[in-house]
């Protein structure tokens, strides 16, 4: 099919379309602001010769302005035609049909860096990014040295850089399209995130390209897309904080290219290239003598518990604090009461099963469930039994007390509401499968998850209001904040549901399933997952703020205390992380996995470990 002028509406060319009776379109390989880029076959050659055809559609309707634009386009195409550099595709031809202009370019086999970024699962090796960086400096230096006028690329960013099959890089998209965009008010200039402030002032100097290269390298090293961040905010995302594997020398070069003031950046691309080669010499990467960079150092190795207390079996549950006493259940079937200040034994109360949950305390009484199927209530002072309540299955959920009732789940498939006065059942709500999550009680409703993945909201009469079905078990306990309930599931998702209707507000993908209960403070949610990670997520935007990777599953739950996160891991470590940064403050190694949740009281933090010990630390 041939093209006549009238045919050219704003539609894309299709496979088999023929331009100038010569270029046969095969497929679209890229889409940009001004039109598409196609792979085409040049039929002038018998042998198969592939070309890239870049299409630019002018929006300007005024004929005089349009003519001017095409003249500029022509002039620029002619400059490009004189360029010779291995990292610049050759220009073979250009022509216009109606309001469309076409460039015929050397076809580059490979992917652009934006595609590589979206595919990668992990950080790119430093030496890889370093060798791309050196090549990019080289081609920028070539352009900037162009006579009589330097050529400023103006739009360095991952989507304009191709990675060839030989693992070299090439610059595509010579801003030639820019002449097509003139004459509009209010539109953007450059590519937000990669362009420096001086470019917004209308300056086009080599420093503009150096900054954008810095931004691109920053993106490649940290995998944080600057387009998603506030402009010029690289100073708030230091490379070393996000990717500790990057040498400080390389980070320093990138960060200098990203200086806010043009005069603080490298003078030229060649100066930056020198600096990069020096980095390669120092770190040995160019000689492939690459030494794996040091693992993040474990600080605070000297942290010692204030006291510890040994029970007779594993502690899988969580302690609670009340008026100077620490209560914790153990798999030796006892509930222990310890003096919180020094860990001295006060009393223990025996049940007939392991105690997995966290005790609740109300008016001098301690409430807790046991695998002996009972909810037990004992005096906090003496450890004497007040009453017990039987369910039909082991109790692994922890009690919540509100409105004169204890709410607790059981493996019998029910949530039980039991009067605190006399231990009598008021009602039970059917879940259909074991309820191991701890219910959350708001001023109107009770929320809980079940092992079959049902999440249920009931009112204070036990009548269901709504139900949401996750794909796998919900063992994690819900937490309510600002009208939304949050919980994790074994289906590797963290959920935020509208507390009133159960509509899903957002979902966050975790690396693996989670039974950890989220903690929330100031719109930040902290939780752990079986992928070894402690996550910090902004509850408003559902974006990950930071993550900290431990050496094993995180099945316990984090707590926020002051400006820190405390959390145990199955690797046996007890971690203290900065709440804002996620950086490790200290870590204490216990003898066995930690599966419970810590509790804080003023300056003290308490945690149990399956090494049979309860530990107390200074916060």
């Amino acid at each position: 099919m041939d093209f006549k002028e009238g045919d050219l509406k704003y539609s894309q060319l299709k496979q088999g379309d023929l331009l100038l009776d010569r270029y046969e379109i095969q497929e679209i390989v890229g889409m940009g602001g001004m039109g598409a880029v196609y792979r085409a076959r040049d039929k002038n050659f018998k042998a198969i010769r592939l070309v890239a055809i870049k299409e630019m559609i002018s929006q300007v309707t005024d004929p005089i302005v349009r003519k001017n634009i095409f003249q500029i386009f022509e002039r620029e195409a002619n400059i490009l035609a004189t360029l010779r550099h291995p990292a610049i595709p050759r220009i073979y031809d250009y022509f216009a049909i109606g309001e469309r202009a076409y460039l015929v370019l050397e076809f580059i086999h490979g992917k652009n860096l934006e595609q590589l970024l979206s595919e990668t699962q992990s950080f790119f090796p430093e030496e890889q990014v370093l060798s791309w960086a050196v090549e990019l400096c080289d081609v920028l230096d070539y352009l900037h040295a162009h006579k009589p006028e330097p050529i400023i690329f103006r739009d360095v960013k991952p989507s304009n850089i191709m990675n060839t099959l030989q693992n070299h890089v090439a610059l595509v998209d010579f801003g030639i399209a820019k002449v097509f965009e003139s004459g509009q008010r209010n539109t953007m200039v450059g590519t937000q995130g990669y362009s420096p402030p001086d470019q917004y002032r209308g300056e086009a100097t080599p420093k503009v390209d150096i900054y954008a290269l810095g931004a691109t390298l920053h993106h490649l090293l940290t995998l944080r897309d600057p387009q998603l961040e506030a402009p010029f905010s690289f100073g708030e995302r230091l490379i070393s904080e996000i990717n500790p594997n990057v040498s400080k020398e390389f980070s320093a070069v990138v960060e200098r290219a990203l200086e806010y003031k043009p005069e603080d950046r490298y003078e030229s691309a060649s100066e930056m290239k020198e600096a990069l080669i020096n980095v390669a010499r120092k770190t040995g990467t160019l000689l492939h003598l690459s030494i794996p960079s040091a693992q993040p150092t474990t600080r605070g190795v000297g942290v010692k518990p204030l006291w510890s207390f040994e029970c007779e079996d594993e502690l899988r549950g969580s302690p609670n604090y009340h008026e100077g006493t620490l209560f914790i259940g153990c798999y030796d079937n006892n509930l222990y009461a310890l003096d919180a200040s020094n860990g001295q034994f006060r009393w223990k109360y025996p049940t007939d099963g392991g105690i997995p949950g966290k005790p609740a305390i109300l008016e001098g009484n301690v409430y807790f469930g046991s695998e002996d199927k009972r909810l037990h209530v004992v005096s906090a002072i003496s450890g004497k039994v007040i009453w017990t309540y039987y369910t039909e299955g082991p109790v692994r959920s922890s009690p919540r007390i509100a409105e004169g009732h204890v709410f607790i789940g059981s493996d019998d498939g029910y949530l039980h509401a039991v009067s605190t006065n006399n231990g009598r059942l008021s009602w039970k709500a059917e879940a259909g499968s074991p309820v191991r999550s701890t219910p959350f009680v708001s001023d109107e409703y009770v929320y809980f998850g079940s092992e079959a993945g049902d999440f249920t909201c009931v009112d204070f009469r036990g009548d269901p209001r709504w139900r949401y079905k996750a794909k796998r078990a919900i063992t994690s306990s819900p937490i309510l904040a600002d009208g939304a309930v949050y919980f994790g599931s074994m289906d590797s998702t963290l959920y935020a549901l509208d507390a009133n209707s159960g509509w899903v507000v957002w979902r966050f993908r975790l690396g693996k399933g989670s039974i950890s209960t989220p903690a929330i403070q100031n719109n930040f949610l902290y939780t752990g997952a079986a992928d070894h990670i402690i996550y910090c997520i902004d509850t408003r935007s559902a974006k990950e703020m930071w993550r900290y990777t431990t050496d094993h599953q995180v099945t316990g739950s984090p707590i926020v205390h002051r400006d820190a996160i405390y959390c145990g891991s199955v690797d046996g470590g007890f971690y203290c992380l900065g709440a804002a940064s996620g950086r490790l403050r200290w870590r204490f190694q216990t003898g066995k996995p930690i599966t419970g949740t810590p509790v804080a009281h003023e300056d003290m933090i308490f945690i149990g470990s399956t090494d049979k010990r309860v530990y107390a630390f200074l916060a």
């Binding site: 602001g33 008010r185 953007m188 402009p231 709504w466 939304a484 009133n500 979902r507």
Partner: protein, 302 residues
């Protein structure tokens, strides 16, 4: 309850008739107050969104490049009272009518997508969309609108501030420099959105003074807009509806000339969103009305 509704209708038509004479005398009992009254009388659990909007050319522009959508509903059953609302403001930019085409396309596309994703499941057996979150629905709405704008108005673009209300949850998608505000009954006003304005950003960084910013030649340059760039980089976030209070969405035709405190005072002076919208437009026009003015005001009555 019918009685109150009747009363509310009569009141409204009367105030319309009054309009030529004295511009804005508040009715004795406006519609929002009626709802309040009904709610408290019966002591019942009661949720309703009362919303109003206004779009005005302003004093200096000959064409309108703003567009808005204001849609409220409620599904009330024995087990649940579920208010739902969709509120959108878009402010177009780009020459050759591209601005108005962009904003209209944006509002229509986002509206269409949200309605088909949210309203339809309400009438099914499970009154809630099961496989997509509100955030995902909002993301795909913005995505579609971005594509539609690029197609319908190549080179043009628009701001977009779209709010979805489900129960007390509020999900907002935002690009550009229209704004969403939370206004509480006790006189606080807080911008929920951040302008994607370059000059504003430079000012935040201490590179420009407030004065320099106000007179900067690139004052209206946005670093993000719908229809601009390869993908739409909208801020999408959730929050809860101010209660008791208002959600206000407006274009820079309002916030650019009427300061936040005055906006808050005008809104809080009446419990009727209809009247408040009218007064906000009047205030913007009294301040010169340099640009098109769009306002959408929402209140949860319960």
């Amino acid at each position: 309850m019918k009685k109150f509704l009747k009363r509310f209708r009569r009141k409204k038509s009367k105030s319309k008739a009054d309009k030529q004479g004295t511009a804005a005398t508040a009715p004795l009992l406006d519609e929002a107050q009626v709802w309040d009254f009904v709610g408290s009388q019966r002591g019942a659990k009661f949720n309703h969104l009362v919303a109003a909007s206004a779009l005005d050319l302003g004093q200096r522009r000959e064409n309108n490049e703003d567009a808005l959508l204001c849609l409220s509903g409620v599904l009330d059953t024995t087990s649940n009272s579920q208010p739902l609302g969709i509120y959108i403001v878009a402010d177009g930019m780009g020459g050759h009518r591209n601005g108005e085409i962009a904003s209209e396309t944006a509002v229509r596309t986002v509206g269409n997508h949200l309605i088909s994703k949210l309203y339809k499941p309400l009438f099914g057996p499970e009154p809630r969309p099961t496989n997509e979150s509100l955030r995902e629905i909002m993301e795909s709405a913005v995505d579609q609108a971005h594509k539609a704008v690029r197609k319908a108005a190549p080179g043009g673009g628009c701001t977009l501030t779209a709010a979805l209300v489900v129960g007390t949850q509020l999900v907002i998608a935002h690009l550009g420099d229209s704004r969403a505000y939370a206004i509480t009954r006790d006189g606080r006003i807080e911008a929920l959105t951040k302008d994607h304005s370059l000059v504003k950003r430079l000012q935040e960084m201490g590179q420009l003074t407030g004065e320099e910013a106000a007179t900067h030649p690139q004052k209206s340059v946005l670093y993000r807009a719908l229809g601009q760039g390869d993908t739409a980089q909208a801020d999408i976030f959730n929050s809860s509806l101010p209660n008791p209070g208002f959600l206000l969405i407006c274009s820079d035709g309002l916030w650019g000339v009427v300061n936040e405190d005055d906006i808050q005072r005008i809104v809080n002076a009446t419990s009727s969103p209809f009247l408040a919208c009218h007064h906000l437009v009047e205030a913007a026009n009294a301040a010169g009305g340099p640009d098109n003015i769009s306002v959408v005001l929402v209140r949860l009555v319960n």
